[in-house]
């Protein structure tokens, strides 16, 4: 039978065996006197071998400072370090230990060692979240939130919106949110209803433009329209977020223009046209919508160049582009794809609708002569249209070829007219 003392001893040992924190007793040179299992469990993987007798030797690779901290500690007794972090081993997620050391006498020290890897990871995540929220809150004065009903009329206003726009709640409630847009000629604004249509279809719509302030001024803002809780297929309403931002810098705008614009006419360039067209084609295929291409060629352009000089030719091209762009919507892309050949890319349009647009363009060219450096020149254009509803499987190149085929017929049939591609000639 064990004596009381033996039983007590066993109880104490059990207590130390089961202690979840590592405990180590060591000399001033690091020789380990006593160590509990938790500490040994942490030291063994660091040592990489199963013979652990000196704490400083084990820690030499990852915490050589421990030796110095103990050596250079001047006092006869006291805390040498508290929660000193030790990052052990390489790898993407190294183990992190916290170490506290107390000097009992000049040659006797006790250390605690615990694995704080999880805690360190949590701290890092918290710090990231904190930074994120802090940056959000910094900008909170710039963000206004409003609620829209299913038709896009403002039905609730938060103080942030009143603060940002200067309008009182009664000035805003019941009005369509788009009536507070203040577009100018230099900035493209989606046509009325487009934002709501897009948000109903895709869940959201983002736009950047001028917005009205109560004092009659305007400010530049990013505008997000996000659809709220769908009931079946119906959208119950929208959330409108207005974020006052600094307008995109002039340098960026210039660079963008350089990369996407035709130098002479200011129309989009060929590369930009193909980029947009490919993107929109993929989108239209996804949602079953249509889109159309209108190819146009200035009639007898060679005669202008030969008879009146290249400067006059350039003026004709510039004016033709200006007139056509004025007839198109902001989301349409008008690009110069050849010498005197242009293309209008009309998202959402069927072949019939494209024909109507092309007719408008034709009239805008023929309506009045062009002022080409003092000479007034009559110009006309020939137009060929193709659309996705006629060629559901067509590629951009295929649609372009189909529109070119129609253009050829418009030329052959006497110019200054619109021709439509026929579905049978689909070039996919």
């Amino acid at each position: 039978m064990p004596t009381d003392l033996e039983a007590e001893n066993a109880g104490l040992l059990q207590f130390l065996y089961s202690c979840p924190a590592g405990l180590i007793e060591f000399t001033s040179t690091g020789a380990i006197g006593m160590v509990n299992p938790a500490a040994m469990g942490l030291l063994l993987p660091i040592a990489g071998r199963t013979f652990v007798t000196n704490l400083f030797d084990v820690m030499d690779g990852c915490a050589p400072e421990l030796r110095n901290m103990v050596c250079n500690f001047g006092a006869a007794h006291g805390a040498i370090c508290d929660g000193h972090r030790i990052v052990t081993g390489p790898g993407e997620r190294p183990t992190v230990l916290a170490c506290s050391i107390v000097r009992l006498t000049h040659d006797r020290h006790v250390a605690t060692l615990s694995d704080v890897t999880e805690q360190v990871a949590r701290e890092r995540r918290l710090k990231q979240a904190e930074t994120w929220f802090a940056s959000l809150l910094d900008g909170v004065d710039n963000v206004a939130v409003l609620s829209l009903d299913a038709d896009g009329r403002i039905d609730a206003v938060t103080p942030s919106a009143v603060r940002q726009t200067g309008f009182a709640e009664r000035d805003l409630l019941g009005h369509p949110f788009e009536s507070f847009d203040r577009p100018d000629r230099a900035t493209a604004t989606p046509p009325y209803g487009e934002a709501i249509a897009a948000a109903r279809r895709d869940g959201w719509h983002l736009h950047e433009g001028w917005h009205a302030r109560a004092d009659g001024g305007r400010y530049w803002c990013q505008r997000l329209v996000a659809a709220r809780a769908h009931v079946g297929d119906a959208v119950s309403g929208y959330t409108l977020v207005l974020r006052a931002v600094k307008r995109q810098g002039r340098d960026t705008a210039d660079l963008r223009r350089m990369l996407t614009r035709d130098h002479l006419t200011g129309a989009s360039n060929r590369a930009h046209f193909f980029e947009v067209a490919e993107r929109e084609l993929t989108r239209s295929r996804g949602n079953g919508g249509s889109l159309a291409l209108i190819v146009l060629d200035i009639d007898h352009f060679k005669r202008v160049n030969d008879g009146h000089g290249h400067a006059a030719g350039d003026a004709v091209l510039r004016e033709a582009a200006r007139r056509c762009e004025a007839e198109l919507r902001p989301e349409d892309v008008f690009a110069r794809i050849g010498g005197e050949e242009f293309v209008a890319f009309v998202p959402g349009a069927t072949l019939t609708e494209a024909a109507a647009v092309a007719e408008r363009l034709r009239l805008s060219l023929a309506r009045e002569p062009v002022d080409a450096g003092g000479t007034r020149l009559r110009i006309t254009g020939s137009f060929g249209c193709s659309a996705l509803d006629g060629h559901p499987d067509a590629t951009v190149a295929g649609l372009l070829a189909a529109a070119d085929g129609a253009l050829y017929r418009a030329k052959r049939d006497g110019r200054d007219r619109v021709a439509l591609s026929d579905a049978g000639r689909a070039a996919a």
Binding site: L13, Y17, E25, M34, A38, L44, P45, T50, F51, V52
Partner: protein
């Protein structure tokens, strides 16, 4: 016979308590969940613990945290069959003590064994 290196897992299973206690090395038998079921007299002496306080506890979390790593405990989880002798350091009575461990696990036997030789 019944040496540290020679004894088989079937023999360990069939030995009575008195015979296990008489072995010159520590014997620890664990359930598949890691609960101590066998703890012989030699191991009691080496560790300074009484069998009554150890049996029924979870070995790797209460008595042998120093084995709760990839070198020992994880091997019992990962490997279907083990019979390996490894050099190790235990903290018997809080003293770092070099030992040899024999880890034993067999497919047909539920119980796993750890033999400890000082």
């Amino acid at each position: 016979m019944h040496t540290f290196e020679g004894i088989s897992i079937d023999e360990l299973e069939s030995l009575e308590w008195e015979r296990l206690d008489a072995l010159p090395y520590g014997v620890v038998g664990l359930s598949p969940e890691g609960i101590v079921e066998i703890y012989n007299a030699t191991e009691e002496r080496l560790a300074g613990l009484s069998r009554d306080g150890v049996i029924g506890t979870h070995y790797f979390s209460s008595t042998a945290q120093c084995m709760n790593n990839f070198m020992v405990a994880q091997r019992f989880e990962d490997e279907p069959e083990i019979d390996a002798v490894i050099d190790y350091v235990l903290t018997l009575r809080m003293r770092p003590t070099p030992v040899r461990l024999r880890l034993m696990k067999a497919p047909k036997v539920d119980r796993r064994f750890i033999l400890i030789q000082r």
